[in-house]
């Protein structure tokens, strides 16, 4: 866990530095052209070193943010938006509206996470749009096959809790999300657990009050069961059959 946290801080530093390098227009105008992509130097993670250089004029807005995603986000979140790091959420398959709401909350200092706050603080409005639109195009990536099969009893009770507490009302039958609602099926268990507990205690703000209200009456052991269940869904069909 400590090593893990150290890794996260490292990511934060790398990302913040990289962002400063590529985005000189901190707080700049909304419609300024995208900043040139400058490959990071030194011994940073592979994804950063691998970002190819390109001239701004040759880039469309989306491909520019694809470059910047590779440089800024991929080290922690994975080039395809999924990294098996317990507390680093899976971005693959997240709706762009959900992504921009969270970047906004980080930038405004409402949702707190050292790495993400550092990144988001430097983003312009256009950056929020560009990154969220790009991330919204990343297809869902299911979790890797589990080392041990999921506990069928716990899965069944998680599924019952998801029905009972109306998770499916907003997240959909497969917990696949949509619009401002995140995909949580297949998300990391530790991240889901921390998020649910955060909504419950009030330490994790949402873009609206929906989650705070939804989990306010749910005992924390049930929150953990919900996290266990949702994390082990490998696709929408599983949620329906409870397998």
């Amino acid at each position: 866990m400590t090593r893990w946290a150290a890794g996260l801080v490292f990511c934060a530093v790398v990302v913040a530095l990289a962002l400063m390098a590529v985005s000189p227009r901190v707080g700049g105008q909304q419609n300024a052209p995208a900043a040139p992509v400058v490959p990071a130097v030194g011994s940073g993670p592979k994804a950063i070193a691998a970002a190819p250089a390109a001239t701004p004029s040759a880039l469309t807005a989306t491909s520019s943010y694809a470059q910047r995603f590779a440089a800024l986000c991929a080290a922690c979140h994975g080039t395809n938006g999924r990294m098996e790091t317990p507390l680093t959420p899976v971005l693959a398959g997240q709706p762009s509206l959900y992504v921009i709401t969270q970047l906004f909350l980080f930038r405004e200092g409402r949702r707190s996470n050292e790495a993400m706050t550092a990144v988001a603080k430097t983003m312009t409005d256009d950056d929020l749009r560009g990154f969220s639109e790009l991330i919204g195009t990343l297809p869902p990536v299911p979790p890797p096959p589990p080392a041990t099969p999921p506990d069928p009893i716990r899965m069944a009770s998680g599924r019952a809790l998801a029905e009972q507490h109306k998770c499916v009302f907003c997240h959909g039958a497969g917990l696949g999300g949509g619009q401002q609602v995140p995909l949580i099926g297949g998300q990391h268990e530790e991240y889901l657990q921390a998020s649910l507990r955060g909504f419950h205690s009030g330490s994790r703000p949402g873009y609206t009050q929906a989650m705070t209200a939804a989990v306010s009456q749910i005992p924390s052991e049930d929150l953990d069961t919900l996290a266990y269940y949702a994390a082990r869904l490998r696709g929408p069909a599983e949620a329906l059959t409870g397998q």
Partner: protein
């Protein structure tokens, strides 16, 4: 003896009304209020209220040039970059105050003179939505309390701590945000139904209080969610828009424009009867729509009729003087979107005539903008807030 005493206590509580009752009867947790009554069809299961986008539309991308108005009127962008712009009010010294709802958690001020840059004067206050200016004070109502900032236009750099007038509003999410008006030294506000459709208990009413926060009285009952009301300058009567229930059907029921003629004595139908003619399929059994006050006009299915103002200016043609402008924010609970500014005229017989005034908010079934509230400036031009685009437009005539 004891039971007599509790009856007396109960009766007293009932007379005091809302404060005690609202706290004793919180809405049930679980299913989100907006989802009550949602059919299990695929289309319906994909529909939900959507909060405003966190980034205001860039000035050159605003839909201003796409708006259509009656001949002689023109519209321009008055301010942009006003995230989540909702309520509009003005102080005597020419400062326009702008509230917000779910996203910005702010109140802004924009001086009428100058370049119309919004300045945040209240920050980190969730649902700082209800605002009113009166005698130099800014009244702000969230979903939990009503506050007053005195001498506000001389203290825009630091408002200081507000005086809390009332802190026993029930809070919650559904229809809990506020719209304020002050009329004859009384502050009017509503407490919306804590759900799409339910037995609302002490909710779903328009109330008023003295300006010090005492003497709460019920003004109208059976009001699902009004976030737009104003007083007819000719008669002093209260008129209000009311948002109809969701999930009934694409085309029904309509939002209502209502007219209060007997303050405190009238029931406008919720949850028993919608649009004056449709008994609710669940709560309407054993009730008749004739038991309730009929709407003065129907404002369209799921229209989300928000801000409303009587036009008190002189710039617009005579036809519009004394008319009601109504912001139809546009439906979430309908597959076919629409939004506009409409105008309605009291017909003198308790009803109202109603027609669209400014259109162009929707393109390819998507919102380019969504109107929320109005402010008639001293020159007679009218500001309109747009929370979707984070902008304020100015409508003028003949110049």
């Amino acid at each position: 003896m004891k039971s007599v005493r509790s009856l007396v206590v109960l009766a007293t509580l009932c007379c005091i009304g809302l404060p005690a009752l609202a706290q004793q009867a919180p809405p049930p947790a679980g299913e989100p209020g907006w989802a009550k009554g949602r059919p299990k069809t695929d289309v319906a299961m994909q529909m939900a209220p959507i909060p405003v986008f966190p980034i205001p539309t860039a000035p050159d991308k605003l839909p201003t040039s796409k708006f259509k108005l009656p001949p002689g009127f023109k519209v321009e962008t008055w301010a942009s970059g006003v995230l989540d712009a909702r309520g509009l009010r003005e102080g005597a010294k020419g400062n326009v105050f702008v509230s917000s709802l779910f996203v910005a958690n702010r109140v802004y001020v924009i001086p009428e003179q100058g370049n119309h840059q919004p300045k945040v004067i209240i920050d980190k206050m969730p649902m700082a939505t209800g605002i009113e200016l009166y005698n130099g004070s800014l009244y702000v109502a969230t979903n939990t309390k009503i506050m007053r900032y005195d001498n506000v236009e001389d203290r825009l750099d630091n408002l200081g701590e507000p005086k809390v007038l009332y802190d026993k509003l029930p809070g919650g999410n559904d229809h809990s945000w506020k719209y304020l008006r002050i009329h004859d030294n009384k502050l009017y506000f509503a407490i919306g139904a804590p759900c799409n459709i339910c037995d609302p208990g002490p909710y779903a009413k328009i109330y008023r209080m003295s300006l010090d926060g005492t003497n709460i009285e019920t003004i109208a009952s059976g009001v699902r969610n009004t976030v737009g009301f104003d007083f007819d300058p000719k008669t002093g009567d209260l008129w209000f828009t009311d948002n109809g229930r969701d999930w009934f059907s694409e085309e029904l029921p309509n939002d209502e424009l209502n007219h209060v003629t007997k303050p405190g004595q009238e029931h406008f139908g919720f949850p028993f009867c919608h649009q004056g003619s449709i008994p609710d399929p669940e709560f309407g059994w054993g009730k008749s729509c004739d038991e309730y006050v009929k709407p003065a006009a129907l404002l369209g299915p799921h229209a989300a009729s928000l801000g409303m103002t009587f036009y008190r200016g002189k710039m617009f043609p005579a036809k519009y003087q004394g008319a009601m402008f109504i912001a139809r924010h546009g439906p979430w609970n309908r597959t076919r979107k629409y939004a506009d500014i409409s105008v309605a005229w009291p017909d003198g017989k308790g009803g109202a005539r109603f027609e669209p005034f400014m259109t162009g908010f929707v393109e390819n079934n998507s919102y380019l903008g969504r109107p929320v509230d109005f402010l008639v400036l001293r020159d007679g031009s009218m500001l309109v807030s747009d929370d979707h685009a984070g902008a304020i437009y100015r409508i003028s005539y003949g110049q």
